[in-house]
Assembly symmetry: C2
Homo-oligomer: 213 residues x 2
């Protein structure tokens, strides 16, 4: 049991160190030896857990998705209306990006994934499906327009989110990311909210920026 616990700790330390280096240096620029040194483990221990750099990159991406999914479950448990839930999930994802290097490393590795032959479609498909499901419920709840295509809305949210955070990362190191994403909601909501729910836009932008109260 102690040994299993130690293996888990070592694995977590390696993933944490790898995330910090992948985030800064990218897949191509990351050397396993540097990861071992930064994690404070021997090269042997590192190779035991991750035989190849690709395994380490995939572990970081998996860890990113585990964190994001756990936060989605947390938000879902708040029991808010579907559109507010969607906005809160997007807020959580943005805060995690600012907080955890494993999230930022996961994003960078996903952009670079063709370098190590990893199929990166699944996270985008999962995220789209989740958004579309929430959008359909939000239509039933009367918040989103009846004539909105939930799949098209979901794909737009995923695409815009991906790009807005990315351009913010390139131009400001994500310092203006929350403001830019709030702008996205501010300008997008009037076109997707039901005619009699237009006044919700201000509230939802506020929820995105400050959370639910």
């Amino acid at each position: 049991m102690v040994q299993q616990e130690r293996a888990r700790t070592t694995r977590a330390a390696i993933i944490g160190a790898a995330a910090r280096i992948f985030e800064e240096q990218g897949y191509g620029g990351t050397a396993l030896a540097t990861v071992a040194t930064q994690a404070g483990v021997t090269k042997g221990a590192l190779y035991f857990h991750f035989p190849a750099k690709e395994d380490l990159a995939v572990a970081v991406i998996d860890e990113q998705h585990a964190i994001a999914s756990a936060d989605g479950v947390r938000v879902q448990a708040l029991g808010r209306p579907a559109l507010e839930t969607l906005v809160l999930i997007c807020r959580g994802f943005a805060l995690q990006l600012l907080e955890h290097s494993v999230m930022r490393a996961g994003i960078r590795l996903t952009f670079e994934a063709s370098a190590f032959g990893h199929d990166v479609r699944q996270p985008y498909l999962d995220w789209s499906a989740r958004c579309a499901e929430l959008a359909r419920t939000a239509q039933d709840e009367g918040d989103l327009r009846r004539d909105l295509d939930p799949e098209a809305f979901a794909r737009l949210v995923v695409g815009s989110y991906t790009g807005v955070q990315m351009v913010s990362s390139i131009l400001t190191g994500r310092q203006d990311m929350l403001v830019r994403l709030a702008d996205l909601w501010r300008m997008l909501l009037p076109g997707v909210l039901a005619a009699d729910r237009q006044e919700h836009a201000t509230h939802l932008v506020d929820v995105f920026l400050h959370g639910t109260t």
Copy 2:
């Protein structure tokens, strides 16, 4: 003169071959020897024009921007209102991405540019500035809301565009890109058009999909 002409032809052939390989293999996966073979030139000729892989990547990115700028000039010369001009420039950019491998390679290299220490902020800043200028004119022309922040709108267009084309590239090899970008305009326009220009939305989406008539 004949020699200069020949050098230009060789250089163009190298850039064309490099674009096709960078697009498929990325920066890390591209070997200069393969580029020389595909371009039908000797390695010596390639090294004469591009001493390092980095030089070749920067040349592809520069060529991408030259193509995009030339198309911007073409659209500007049509003399349409500013908002329609912006939509037409975005249409042109999307069509070029579908048509020219140098555009797709340039985008991929820009995402990977930290791998070769190239500063990629400038194209995003240039594109933002251009969008913001058109947005200000569109406000003067009464098409965009007076209370819209032109800089925020510009940054949103740049960010959303970047992400929507990227997710389309990952999920469908850009097959649904035009439809997804039209969805972006369809959902975004109601929130940014002036109250008395709301009926322009349908026309502008049509302009994006089919060009000006």
